[in-house]
């Protein structure tokens, strides 16, 4: 029933706004080129390349989809791009070497992990004020805010922990120990479960948000590929809660997981060193950024098949998609 109620407005919107749907785009950050590639999601062609700050990695849309936040890691700033003009309109104070970040549902608080300083910086995107700096484990990396806005979760690559930050008080409340080198965290849409990938551990932990305990650990195995190469990074869950996709880095595959039974259903061959992923606005395709091969693979979600791979810049890192 929830699926229906969620889909209906979407379908109506799609029917009303069909010209807008035709202009659906993806923005991909190219770490080595200091650019963003703009991919047309109908023609599957790169239509524009935009120069941005140095070493762009994590990117995120504002909740109203008018702005794009870009972690320009080597410029030590979070850039704000106007999506209408594709111009950088401001630079936010981010602390040193921002890599990943997450925007609070209030569309104001931006949680940024500063890899070199072992802190999480909270910035107000409107007043540009640094609201807090929270000490976390060594090499903070992954960042996510729960759908209800209560929790900000950060992963520290060297301490191997998830750090639970209360977004009201900006205090570190709890830690969850996971396998080596946690890279990315992703909340389920209802906010009850959190998926966390461990790059060196080669596992994905599923954590109950209320108890902050691991309830399931997933392992991956691909015939013909050495286990050392299986390094889970990006995780994406389908909005209907049925499937999870896990990007396995240098294993060049994306694992398809049944999100209820935690069984790995398939491994899909994509480009080299696959890191992050995003669904298209209609959720019918999943895009993956493949760093070493410099392309984006397109997975048809209904068929669970890789349809194509499209060249973008060098070392594509993050990806977001936009309906209009």
């Amino acid at each position: 029933m929830t699926i229906k109620t969620k889909l209906l407005p979407l379908m109506i919107a799609a029917a009303l706004a069909s010209p807008a749907v035709h202009a659906a785009k993806a923005y991909i950050s190219n770490e080595k080129d200091d650019t963003l590639s703009v991919l047309d999601l109908n023609t599957w062609e790169v239509v524009e390349t935009i120069d941005v700050g140095e070493r762009p990695r994590g990117i995120a849309l504002s909740k109203d989809h008018t702005k794009l936040y870009i972690c320009a890691s080597d410029s030590d700033t979070v850039q704000v791009m106007d999506l209408a003009t594709h111009k950088i309109i401001e630079n936010l104070p981010s602390g040193a070497d921002p890599e990943q970040f997450a925007l609070h549902p209030d569309n104001r608080k931006l949680y940024i992990s500063n890899e070199d300083d072992a802190i999480v910086t909270v910035v107000d995107t409107e007043s540009h004020e640094v609201l807090a700096q929270i000490e976390v484990g060594v090499e903070p990396e992954g960042m996510a805010v729960s759908p209800d806005g209560k929790w900000a979760v950060n992963t520290s690559e060297t301490t191997n922990m998830l750090h639970w930050i209360d977004t009201e008080t900006h205090e570190l409340v709890d830690n969850t120990l996971v396998d080596q080198r946690p890279r990315h965290v992703e909340f389920r849409e209802d906010g009850k479960l959190l998926w966390a990938s461990s790059e060196i551990g080669g596992t994905v932990s599923v954590i109950d948000v209320e108890s902050r305990q691991i309830i399931q650990k997933l392992n991956f195995e691909i015939k013909g590929i050495h286990p050392d190469k299986i390094q889970p990074v990006g995780v994406k869950l389908t909005p209907d809660g049925k499937y999870a996709f896990v990007a396995l880095g240098p294993a060049n595959h994306v694992a398809v997981v049944d999100a209820n039974t935690y069984e790995v259903l398939d491994y899909l061959l994509v480009g080299r060193r696959v890191w992050h992923m995003e669904f298209t606005p209609e959720k019918d395709y999943l895009l993956t950024t493949n760093g070493i091969s410099g392309d984006v693979s397109v997975i048809n979600v209904a068929d669970m098949k890789v349809e194509r791979s499209i060249k973008v810049g060098r070392y594509p890192w993050g990806v977001v998609t936009l309906a209009d």
């Binding site: 691909i222 013909g224 060049n252 061959l269 994509v270 480009g271 397109v298 890789v306 349809e307 791979s309």
Partner: protein, 267 residues
């Protein structure tokens, strides 16, 4: 002479080829086992679990099995084309060729009928192979199986006419082993059937050029593209051109009298 006579001769040749095929069940099996061994064993050794780089007509990364499947389809056609040359030599030695040549239709028509008969039977084997390959995870688009059909027919005609042309030159059955060594293997290995040409070029430039001039390369590429619903015009032009050349050569050089005269000389 009306059309019926032509048709009669055609069905006669097809039927004969068909019966030969039915009776040699081991031939059907070996025609299937050979490419399957390559698919399962050879590709396993080279198993590119991490993917083969993107080259047209593929839109994304593929496994090695997927890469060699079109080449293996052509391998079936190649062996059948060559085997047909063997059967021509056999027919000639056994004297059944004379019976065939009693027909009032032109000799070229008989040869074309023979080519089409071989092509039809080869196609059965190719599709049987594709069905098994599908189970092994080689899944081209379903529609591609239909678009590949004209390409496969043309390639079958090409290889069949090369076989017929050779059969006009081979006088004795024993020479067939020579054909295997000097025609089938180089044709198959020096082509894009097993490795993409850019890979050949990485190892040596002259090897690349040999492959580039091998008509079998273009036959494989024609099938490969057609299997993915694309038309490779260059491959089509080259395959069509070489088919016409070899078919003409086969008809011209096919002189049944030569062996008839040669026989008493041998004795």
């Amino acid at each position: 002479m009306n059309l019926n006579v032509y048709l009669h001769a055609f069905t006669g040749v097809v039927k004969r080829e068909f019966w030969r095929f039915i009776q040699q069940r081991s031939r059907f099996l070996s025609a299937l086992v050979r490419p399957l061994l390559w698919l399962v064993v050879f590709a396993a050794g080279f198993r590119a679990a991490l993917g083969v780089a993107i080259i047209p007509p593929y839109a994304t990364y593929i496994t090695y099995e997927t890469y060699i499947a079109p080449g293996l389809c052509c391998m079936i056609l190649l062996f059948n084309g060559m085997q047909s040359s063997l059967s021509m030599v056999y027919d000639r030695e056994m004297g059944s060729m004379k019976v065939l040549l009693m027909s009032p239709v032109p000799r070229s028509w008989l040869l074309i009928s023979k080519l089409l008969a071989i092509a039809l039977i080869s196609l059965v084997q190719v599709y049987a192979f594709l069905a098994i390959a599908w189970l092994a995870g080689v899944e081209p688009p379903a529609l591609g199986l239909i678009t590949a059909l004209p390409a496969l027919v043309l390639v079958a005609l090409l290889l069949g006419s090369i076989g017929l042309f050779l059969s006009a030159r081979i006088r004795q059955l024993e020479n067939f082993a020579g054909v295997m060594n000097f025609v089938i293997f180089p044709m198959f290995f020096l082509s894009s059937a097993l490795y993409p040409l850019w890979k050949m070029r990485e190892s040596s430039e002259w090897l690349y050029w040999i492959c580039q001039y091998n008509p079998f390369t273009h036959a494989v590429e024609l099938v490969r593209f057609a299997l993915y619903q694309q038309l490779n015009l260059q491959a089509l032009a080259i395959t069509l051109g070489t088919t016409l050349v070899f078919a003409t050569l086969a008809v011209i050089s096919f002189n049944p009298e030569r062996t008839v005269r040669a026989a008493p000389a041998k004795a």
